[in-house]
Amino acid sequence: MQADKNIYKPLRAKLTEVIDESPLIKTFVLVPEEEFAFKTGQFIELSVDGIGEAPFTPSSSPVITDKLEVTVMKTGYVTEYMHNLKPGAYMGIRGPYGRGYPVEKFFGKQVLILGGGCGLAPIRSLLYALEHVKDNLEKVILCYGSKTPSDCIYKPLFNRLNKIDKFEAYRTVDKPDEEWNESVGVATKLLDKIKVDINNSLAVVCGPPIMMKFGTIRILEMGYRDEQIYLSMEKNMSCGLGKCGHCMMGKFFVCKDGPVFTYNELKDTPDIWK
């Protein structure tokens, strides 16, 4: 209960660094004027003063509360303004909102993560969270696909992950260049080469809608049950408070009931991949 808090008022955050991740993707390092804690998979509404705001899941570790990183793809009106911001600017943050990943349910399990495109942003935060509790996990497998090598973000992340005990990370691209020496093809293709004990595993899928759809179908074919699959849904979350109606997906307000759902919760809702 936040009876006296104005739920619509953003917290100011200073932009301290802008990291170029790919031609269309940048990571913004923000220092909020107050401590800001979130659970991995929860999202924030990030605003450009006087221009607009949009929902993003932070890509940084939920263990760090004095700064956060948000990875933004230049896609529309607001994100274009974001990409023009320089360190020193102030942005607005509301949140954190929604239900994130249930990390404690991953304890004792093999965690399979299937990601695509900019979906790696929330996954990176999840990976940091899982690294923090790795003693409680059996294994973490990341399968990630992007269109081209230059679209593949967080390049140092993969080398680092493969050096962490219990972590495996694989990458693929649709269109390789001459230097690419890893897998070629869509992200689901990576699932053919991994070894996972499905009965003792949970799967996470996060990426563009088309990848979410075919990724979920493929993971179901592998033998995962509906309730073993966690999906991070993307809708037009505008208020983040379960009120404005823009992100309704069937009876769910994605912003409040999600954005992380099990496939079991969503499978009877029509048009979830749109």
Partner: protein
């Protein structure tokens, strides 16, 4: 239920005295029709009792069309709203579920609710398109409101619903009298007569136990046929007592303007990447029915439509949702 009556002239005088300390709004009839108006001494006599229904819904008293939700709020006088039909009162139940939600309590909505005394009015008779009873809602209030009134026999009879209503009656400068049994019997007769009129006018209209199934099972052809005359003006949602969707608009200084929105407008669900689940007109049209009759009932309460019929009256394409339900029953 406790009742009190006040001679009509005395009540009007008491109301006039209250105008200095309260903002009073009431359902008023004049040559333009019936609607909620800000009450001044001159229009106290125009306050309409027993008669459905104001042209607009109660919603905008609590959810203004546009407001700055980050600026400082000036204190407001306590507010009294008189002559509210039960369709509007019941509509508040869904608004409360959403805006007084335990996780994210909207301070603007909450303060307005706390600051307002709701004086419902029983409906004696019906207006065109009234169909509250089909959705399990009586044409008189017994909850959510603070008081319900009828005007009869030169008196205003108050039915006390809440503690706040009881305090109000206790503190007004004229003393309320007990209500004669004969008058209460006469009121009950009016209730029964109104029920009969509603049943007769809505014969064959499916009730709330069937509407969800009908909407779920309706085929694309039905939505295309009925939406063919829809111009996406959003009037149905704007006038609806339970449609609450809004948009947040950014202004310099990290200010947010909250403005009512409607799923009938193009782009309501569009994301920056271009995906738009409600791109086609018939999908937007269907979305409103799914929201009212399937999704909101699954999440909050049996019906998210209170049967006021205003969406039928407001539609410039003359789309009648009751015709749609009658066709599909």
């Amino acid at each position: 239920m406790q009742y009190r009556s006040i001679i009509k002239e005395e009540w009007d005088k008491a109301l006039e005295q209250m105008l200095s300390s309260h903002d009073v709004f009431a359902s008023v009839s004049n040559e333009f029709g019936q609607d909620y108006e800000h009450i001044k001494p001159a229009n106290i006599s125009g306050i309409t009792y027993n008669k459905p229904k104001p042209a607009t819904s109660l919603k905008n008293f609590f959810l203004p069309v546009r407001e700055n939700v980050t600026g400082k709020r000036t204190s407001e006088k306590p507010r009294i709203i008189i002559g509210i039909p039960n369709c509007d009162i019941e509509g508040l139940s869904l608004l409360d579920d959403i805006y007084l939600d335990k996780d994210f309590n909207d301070p603007f909505y909450r303060k307005r609710r706390e600051n307002t005394l709701l004086v419902a009015s029983d409906c004696f008779g019906i207006a065109e398109h009234c169909h509250c009873l089909s959705y399990g809602i009586n044409p008189w209030s017994s909850r959510i409101a603070d008081l319900a009134v009828v005007s009869m026999d030169g008196k205003i009879i108050f039915r006390i619903i809440s503690g706040k209503g009881e305090d109000f009656i206790r503190n007004i400068p004229v003393s309320g009298l007990p209500v004669e049994k004969e008058l209460l019997i006469a009121v009950e007769k009016e209730h029964s007569a109104t029920e009969s009129l509603l049943s007769e006018a809505n014969k064959g209209l499916p009730d709330y136990k069937e509407t969800g199934r009908i909407v779920r099972e309706a085929r694309k052809e039905t939505w295309e046929k009925y939406s063919a005359r829809c111009v996406s003006c959003g009037a149905c949602a704007t006038i609806c007592p339970t449609c609450t969707c809004f948009l947040l608009i950014d202004k310099p200084g990290f200010e947010k303007i909250k403005q009512l929105d409607a799923c009938q407008y193009p782009g309501f669900e569009r994301v920056a990447g271009g995906e738009d689940g409600l791109y086609e007109l018939h999908t937007r049209f269907r979305n409103r029915y799914m929201c009212k009759y399937v999704w909101k009932p699954q999440k909050f309460q049996p019906v998210a439509c209170t049967g006021c019929g205003r969406c039928i009256e407001a539609c410039i394409g003359k789309i009648n949702k009751n015709e749609l339900f009658m066709e599909l029953v």
